[in-house]
């Protein structure tokens, strides 16, 4: 892993990471990784992201226990996006849903919720969140 990763990071040093349920193929979330996050994800087998708002790495599930065990990592033709196949414990979304994509947008731009909450985010992440 001292090798150079053949990936294209953007002008902020980040790459888009799409996380997909390895069994159902549902897309669970989209996150961002810097080179260190990619290396940690590959080395540890747990998804690790870079938080643009907090400016630091975070391991998915470090607070909630809702970890993502990495089953596969794919890269796209332009080498500027990753597709991570995972086994998701609990829900991927911090609002309590299995997938962050729990709302549909209609042709007029209106949104409606498609999914049921799996858990109460206040209980999992604490009232202060």
């Amino acid at each position: 892993m001292g090798d150079k990763l053949e990936l294209k990071f953007d002008d902020k040093g980040l790459i888009t990471a799409v996380v997909q349920d390895d069994e159902t193929h549902d897309v669970l979330m989209v996150g961002w990784m810097n080179e260190e996050a990619v290396r940690k994800t590959l080395q540890t087998g747990r998804t690790t992201f870079y938080s643009r708002s907090r400016g630091k790495l975070w391991v998915k599930g470090e607070e909630s226990g809702h970890v993502q065990a990495v089953k596969s990592v794919r890269v796209d033709c332009d080498q500027d996006a990753l597709l991570i196949g995972v086994e998701q414990t609990g829900g991927a979304c911090h609002l309590g849903y299995r997938s962050c994509f729990f709302r549909e947008v209609d042709r007029k731009g209106n949104m409606r919720i498609l999914a049921e909450r799996l858990f109460d985010p206040d209980e999992v992440y604490g009232k202060g969140e």
Copy 2:
């Protein structure tokens, strides 16, 4: 559609768009949309993206005929990513594959091709590409 879209565009006015096969749930590609591209995608039922390198809108399949008919549009919890379910004609990837994610990355960062080419990109896009 004069309504304001409740989406969060980044500092370049763009949002990440993940395109997924509506039937197989395979992730086909990741693109970028500005507000106009989102509106055109919703209005026309054909995916329209913003090319960061060319600085203009493009309709997927306008050159290759490999269009994407929009079946659903979802938005994530942070409203900064879209998931577009499509019926894909031909292949999504300009290199000739069904999906742009045709390579796997192993734990050491090495890549290997997983998929077979569907078409010869020279024939579809012309030798000059």
